[in-house]
Symmetry: C2
Subunit: 163 residues, 2 copies
């Protein structure tokens, strides 16, 4: 009663478990991300950010604005600017100013970009399957559930700080 309150105020809580969880989450992601990046480079001479950007555009046949891309990829605006620049340069992306709002740039995959992406994506999917091969379907479902909960929790915490 009084004890539990006293304890909460006076003794620092033990959050070692959450810390370990965060480190493990980070390790897993870094490991897989590094593996995917290496394979993309070796097989297709493409970087992971470029692949990710093309993946977003592949899902949007009518194109996306740079802001959309930036939100979806969870990266800064300036980052997208440079990424798009290089992909337009290499002929994978088409970029045009919106007819109705001259602030907005709409980008799309070119025919070349789409063809190359589809080839990469097919192989990429097998890499991911292989990397997660030891998980049972039940494991996958359970992880999905727990990560959804984690994402919601983190978003709530972020919103608490930056309302």
């Amino acid at each position: 009663m009084l004890d539990s309150e006293t304890k909460a105020v006076e003794t620092p809580e033990d959050h070692a478990e959450e810390l370990r969880l965060w480190l493990r989450l980070l390790t897993c992601t870094t490991l897989i991300e590094g593996e995917v990046r290496g394979r993309l480079r070796q097989r297709f001479d493409v970087t992971l950010p470029r692949f990710d950007l093309m993946a977003q555009l592949d899902k949007a046949p009518d194109g996306m604005t740079l802001s959309d891309v930036s939100k979806r990829m969870m990266v800064s605006n300036g980052n997208v600017t440079g990424l798009v620049e290089r992909l337009v340069e290499s002929g994978h992306l088409d970029r045009r100013t919106s007819e109705t709002d001259r602030r907005v740039q709409v980008i799309r995959l070119t025919k070349l970009g789409r063809a190359e992406f589809r080839k990469m994506a097919a192989e990429h999917e097998t890499w991911i399957a292989d990397l997660f091969a030891d998980l049972t379907p039940k494991d996958v479902r359970e992880l999905m559930r727990l990560l959804a909960k984690t994402k919601a929790s983190a978003q709530k915490s972020a919103a608490r700080r930056r309302p």
Copy 2:
């Protein structure tokens, strides 16, 4: 019998679930990492990579070699070189050439570095606890277990490619 073999060869497997899992894992990590990076910058004007490097050294009172650090942090050697340079410059790290092997550089936290890190780490731990606040202890245990399994699976897959 024949059917299952035929199927395995001729029809592409469906790995959409694993793909979704990977994307969710990546989203969670990016979200939390971004939040932690922002808080470190605002509260302590320090970058996440510097914090991570100091965290490694805090666990090694006798210091570490650059290779050790690079393996632990899962980043390239050249990356560590630059990171250490900046932290020595700012007075947080002490670096000396090994007596017994002149190729080796041993780095340690300075008194200043350790003091600053301890302060940051204490606060950092509360951020993590808050970000994971909605997970029950059981959720945490279960996630730990599944991520351990994931890590093992990914390592096995990576080793298959690069034996």
